[in-house]
Amino acid sequence: MRFILRRLGFFILTLWAAVTLNFFLPRLMPGNPALAMLAKFRGPVNPSALKALEVAFGVKTHQSLISQYVGYLGDIATGKFGTSLYFYPESVGRVILDAIPWTLGLVGVTTILAFLLGTGVGIVAAWRRGGAMDSILPPTFVITSAIPYFWIGLMLILIFSEKLTWFPSSNGYDVTLIPSATGSFVGNVLWHAILPAAALLITTIGTWVLTMRNTMVTTLAEDYVRMARAKGLPGRRIMFDYAARNAILPNLTGFAMSLGFVVGGAILVEYVFNYPGVGYMLLQAVNNEDYPLMQALFLLITVAVLVAILMADIATAVFDPRTRSRG
């Protein structure tokens, strides 16, 4: 319990650090970039929203830095993220809420798939040490780990969308359709999700395979595995109940953590496929100098990661008795 409280304290501190970065970064840059942004939006945005922005970014304000900072912390704590400039007059909160389901659906499902597939392949590769799978896969995944996500996406678009025209290359669904809960609309959404999901799967699966394989190779050399063999237990039982069960811990904690990265994880894949999720919104905000939206998204992604790491800590404490006593 003390361990978890200490971790909680650490996360509040980290969150504060992220908020503080948000506050000070634009002020530290030469010639406050917010000035240029505000000048650009002077026309279309109404004066009171602009006023709030000027305060938020420390432009033309007579307050001291410290009282600005306290005011900013207060706004964040009460969930006042302001108005989006690019999607004006929608509020930042609204824009984000619309984007979240897309990302959760696409990246969430893909992450779970990658974890299950990768861990399974890793177990078998380690079990059949020196087999065909074990000699081909690790070097392959070392190389796929060096491919930029977005480029895999571009290549998939080139092959399956431009050349074969099997799948659409952008958007979350056919824009001529009206979103509804019908089967045809859901089918359309799935059809649009296949290429981005494939891009994510290709780039993330390697880590799971390699981690699982490498830990499992170490567990297979343990005495209890030898003991199980000596008892004449069937191979399948040794593989899953003895070796894999003890080797899976790093992958499990990694999985809990990667769930947190789901929210911000697929920024570039969403960008390449114009997929209307959180990452795509972040880059929309960046390209259109919509700083309030950008700051809020950065905080959201950070919070998601923090919550996930906390869950990973708790999972480790539950699954691995050795960590409990450390407190």
Binding site: F11, I143, L210, G265, M294
Partner: protein, 321 residues
């Protein structure tokens, strides 16, 4: 970029690496160098990785030898296919793609090596200082490391690069370095802590050596394998994230680099207009350079941890199973 830039062989939650039992530092560079050379030659992954890296370094040093065209000159006929005059064709802006690809090596490599070296250096200073000084220093430095470790990196990079606008080589190196050192610092601190009560350090203390000497001559050399891994991991991370930032338009749009090439290709809808090479070539180059760092790193892991080496003889597998 779903995950933190962990090394290719240790997953996000992998147990802390157990370094081979460190003895007193061996002095004299020659045996170490020949040992490394022998290791590189005997491991196929290391051979391939090193060969690739050497080729890229040569390209970065002497791009003019094989690419005679000016990479930024927009003087050729637009959107040509591959031909004798333009090996990989030309862009929609009338630049030679081959020249751009070759000349682009330099910036990527400078960023990779710069970030690899600087972030390793920062990690050494912070990690070793935290472990060696202990007490409040350790608390403060470890906290700083941990906070930076859990803030999602790529979004943070995007936010910083947005405010900087048109980040050139130097800015990219600084930003990638400042955000990238924490993972290694944590590993180095753990390694230094495990060393603290070793006999050879005690011996040095009893001899009356100064702290600085002990850290530089006795502690840091025992971390060589971690330092190499850190350099390679951070270099790979710099190649991928640097190119990604340039691709989404946060780099300097006039620079010569693979990420910037991809940015212009995407802006001119290269895939939709049939100019496939404009997108394929820079991506393949990023992949090859990244793979060279990743392969060398993985090979070093295999050399340091024999359990991971590929099994050659079937009979030994039989015995083990």
């Amino acid at each position: 970029m779903a995950m933190m830039p962990v090394s290719t062989t240790t997953g996000p939650g992998a147990p802390p690496e157990v370094a081979p039992a460190p003895g007193p530092a061996r002095r004299g560079a020659r045996p170490a160098l020949s040992r490394i050379l022998r290791a590189v030659r005997s491991n196929r992954k290391a051979t391939v990785g090193t060969a690739l890296l050497v080729i890229f370094i040569l390209l970065a040093l002497f791009p003019g030898v094989i690419a005679h065209d000016n990479p930024s000159a927009e003087i050729y006929q637009r959107s040509l296919g591959p031909s004798g005059a333009h090996l990989l064709g030309t862009t929609a802006l009338g630049q030679d793609i081959f020249a751009q690809a070759i000349w682009g090596t330099r910036q990527v490599l400078i960023i990779a090596i710069g970030v690899g070296l600087f972030s390793t250096a920062i990690a050494v200073v912070i990690g070793v200082a935290a472990a060696y000084l202990g007490g409040w220093w350790d608390g403060g430095l470890s906290l700083l490391t941990d906070v930076l470790l859990v803030i999602p990196l790529f979004p943070l990079l995007i936010v910083i690069a947005t405010y900087v606008q048109n980040a050139g080589t130097l800015v990219l190196v600084v930003v990638l370095t400042l955000t990238g050192w924490s993972y290694t610092a944590r590993q180095l601190r753990a390694q230094a802590l495990s060393l603290r009560n070793r006999d050879f350090l005690e011996a040095a203390r009893v001899r009356g050596e100064r702290r600085f000497y002990i850290i530089m001559v006795e502690i840091i050399p025992t971390m060589t394998s971690l330092l190499v891994a850190s350099f390679l991991t951070n270099a790979l991370y710099a190649v991928l994230f640097g190119s990604s930032l340039q691709f989404i338009g946060l780099g300097d749009p006039n620079s010569n680099s693979w990420g910037t090439m991809l940015y212009w290709a995407e802006n001119n809808e290269a895939l939709q207009t049939g100019q496939y090479l404009w997108t394929i070539v820079p991506g393949v180059l990023i992949l090859l350079l990244g793979a060279s760092f990743a392969l060398i790193n993985y090979a070093f892991d295999e050399i340091g941890n024999p359990a991971l080496r590929p099994v050659r003889r079937k009979t030994r597998v039989k015995r083990a199973s």
